[in-house]
């Protein structure tokens, strides 16, 4: 994990350093504790520990010179699936208020069923829309949770 630790360590070091500057800018309090104290403790501690992580990673790389991909259970196929998931998840969040729960979920979960291994596209489509409609009615009728309706003027018989 040497190389991965170094990359993660530097990323978190940078982010926590940036946030620490923000925490330092929070107002000081004369009674009790200041709003910035706890975040500053957490972020300061994060910076120190990430420095340790980077140093340890460098030491490990020098000792073993092991490759990142060999030690990590991640390959291109796996990363591709996760990237597709993330892309469609963002699209789903964007489409949810526009198309409403049933249509947006029907599309998103169609992709998810295919990613999960349902190879027939038609079957995946029936499963995704079917489960979205059932879930919509279960939550609407039994649990009184009104799931999003479409903002766009499209037919929505649910």
């Amino acid at each position: 994990m040497g190389k991965a630790d170094i990359i993660i360590g530097f990323s978190l070091l940078f982010v926590s350093g940036f946030l620490l500057i923000g925490a330092m800018g929070l107002p000081q309090s004369h009674v009790g504790i200041s709003p910035g104290l706890f975040p500053a403790i957490a972020l300061g501690g994060l910076m120190v520990l990430n420095l340790f992580l980077i140093l340890r990673g460098l030491k490990q790389r020098r000792e073993k010179a092991q490759s990142y991909s060999a030690s990590l259970n991640l390959n291109f196929e796996k990363i591709k699936k996760i990237a597709i998931f993330v892309a469609f998840a963002w699209l789903y969040i964007f489409l949810l208020p526009l198309l409403g729960f049933v249509y947006a979920s029907g599309i998103f979960f169609w992709v998810i069923f295919i990613l999960a291994g349902v190879n027939q596209w038609g079957k995946a489509l029936i499963l995704s829309f079917g489960s979205s409609i059932i879930m919509y009615f279960v939550f609407y009728r039994i649990f009184m949770v009104a799931l999003p309706r479409p903002a766009l003027p499209i037919p929505y018989p649910f």
Binding site: S29, G32, P35, F38, L53, A116, G117, V145
Partner: protein, 490 residues
């Protein structure tokens, strides 16, 4: 002693009605199914069912959660025995003897052994919880803000140090959780912190979507990653009921496993997996059949399964009395208790004794349901394993999405759940434990509040944390736990 007896009777009186028993039984059945499906854990099951129980009273909802917890801990043994894959991490030791028994055609006997052992473990740990918890709560009632602050610091350092393979990564996870817990409005000054202009973040990160993301969505991502993997299920169940001689052996081993499980479960951060392997290893050393362990002996199933279920009662001791979760499941339960307006800690025993009574009594009922379901459901166990993951995982994700939305009736919850799902997935990939992040996120604001109150009492003098003996003691223990964790790694 009288108080304890009265509480138990009172608790049982309150829960022995059809509806409450149905709730608890439903929780155990759901836990049974979740635990039997490899990959789904108790914490996943609990967060998935939470949106469905929002509308029922807190005590009943919490009893359902306890039912899921107990049911899952038992049912993790089903895939361990039938497909050589533990359903939950703490059922890993059960594979060693359970699967060889199933290969010999004794799957039914292994499953009934697991049910009986889980019953003994659950029952004995419930007794321990009932006897020990009120005593600890009585002592903890004397704690003031400095003691609680130091206790939370101690709890966090122990959990961060012992969870996962790497102390540094455990601490990074804990500090990340501590920071995330500070997002939103400062409880003392009312000043907004790290909201980045988002109104939705004013109240802080919503806990339920975070939990759904970290435990359920990340699991779905792992399932998607492993799409196509199939299991070879042993369908031949064979004899289920043990003979009198076999029952004696099971009970003897279960008593030992239960004692170890309860003790280990009560120590924050250690959890079921270590308890089961420790109990298994120790019993193997002292048993007459020690050399047969690993080839499929009853004791090899009874010891880990009893230890596994005994950790449930043990882990509830620090949770209910001090508000410190013992493992990842109790961390999720702590979050849920807070969501339901039940604040665990000694004050719970004083202010809401009826809730405590009902929870204690439900632990006994859950133990009996596990036994009944385990013995009579053994024949149907292979059917649960036949549910295809390619259908189940997307449905779990759909439930996650709806649950995250139902929390605040806003798409923000879904965004948080999906983002934390990806975070949880990569944390697991890079060996960062998730438990310290969640526990710190929940305990951080509590610690901040207690520190603020301590400094108000002392008028800004930090020495209040060091001059009060119990507070000092917890801080020393926190320092020692970190010191030994680092030393062990060196």
């Amino acid at each position: 002693m009288d108080v304890i007896q009265i509480s138990l009777v009172e608790g049982l009186r309150q829960i022995l009605d059809f509806q409450t028993l149905l709730y608890i039984f439903g929780g155990v059945v759901f836990g049974f199914i979740v635990g039997a499906l490899p990959g789904l854990s108790a914490s996943t099951g609990i967060v998935l069912v939470l949106p469905l129980v929002y509308h029922i009273p807190a005590a009943e909802a919490i009893m359902i959660m306890l039912g899921i917890y107990g049911g899952t801990m038992f049912a993790g043994s089903i895939p361990a025995i039938l497909i050589r894959t533990p359903g939950t991490p703490s059922a890993a030791a059960t594979v060693l003897d359970g699967y060889p028994m199933a290969q010999r055609g004794e799957a039914g006997l292994a499953l009934s052994t697991s049910a009986i052992a889980s019953f003994v473990g659950s029952l004995l740990s419930a007794i321990a919880l009932f006897l020990i918890a009120p005593q600890i709560a009585r002592v903890a009632l004397k704690f003031g803000p400095p003691e609680f602050f130091s206790l939370v610091v101690f709890g966090l350092t122990v959990i961060a140090s012992v969870t996962g393979k790497d102390v540094i990564k455990g601490l990074i996870s804990a500090l990340l959780g501590l920071f995330l817990g500070t997002m939103g409005m400062d409880p003392i000054s009312g000043y907004s912190r790290f909201t980045f202009g988002s109104y939705a973040l004013e109240g802080g990160l919503p806990l339920l979507p975070v939990m759904i993301g970290l435990f359920a969505v990340s699991q779905v991502l792992r399932d998607i990653e492993e799409a196509g993997i199939t299991y070879q299920v042993i369908n031949k169940i064979g004899r289920i009921w043990p003979s009198r001689e076999e029952l004696k052996r099971i009970l003897g081993a279960s008593l030992f496993g239960s004692a170890v499980g309860t003790l280990i479960g009560a120590i924050p951060g250690i959890g079921g997996s270590i308890a089961t392997f420790l109990a298994y290893g120790q019993y193997r050393k002292f048993s007459k059949r020690g050399e047969e362990f690993g080839s499929g002996v009853l004791e090899g199933v009874a010891v880990p399964e009893s230890a596994n279920n005994a950790t449930t009662g043990g882990a509830l001791i620090p949770l209910l009395t001090l508000g410190i979760p013992g493992d990842i499941v109790t961390a999720v339960m702590l979050g849920i208790l807070i969501l339901f307006g039940v604040n665990p800690g000694p004050m719970l025993f004083r202010e809401q004794p009826e809730v405590v009574n009902r929870l204690f009594a439900s632990m006994f009922v859950i133990a009996f349901f596990i036994l009944v379901l385990g013995l009579f459901g053994a024949r149907f166990s292979p059917k649960i394993l036949a549910i295809p993951k390619k259908i189940l995982s997307p449905l779990v994700l759909l439930l996650c999405v709806v649950g995250a939305y139902a929390d605040s009736s806003s798409a923000f919850g879904i965004t948080v759940a999906l983002v934390f799902g990806v975070i949880g997935y990569f944390m697991e990939k890079f060996d960062f434990p998730v438990a310290p992040l969640l526990i710190s996120m929940i305990l951080g604001p509590i610690a901040e509040g207690e520190l603020g109150r301590s400094l108000l009492i002392s008028r800004g003098d930090w020495s209040i944390l060091f001059v009060r003996p119990i507070s000092l003691c917890f801080l020393i223990l926190a320092g020692l736990s970190l010191f030994f964790a680092f030393r062990k790694k060196d």
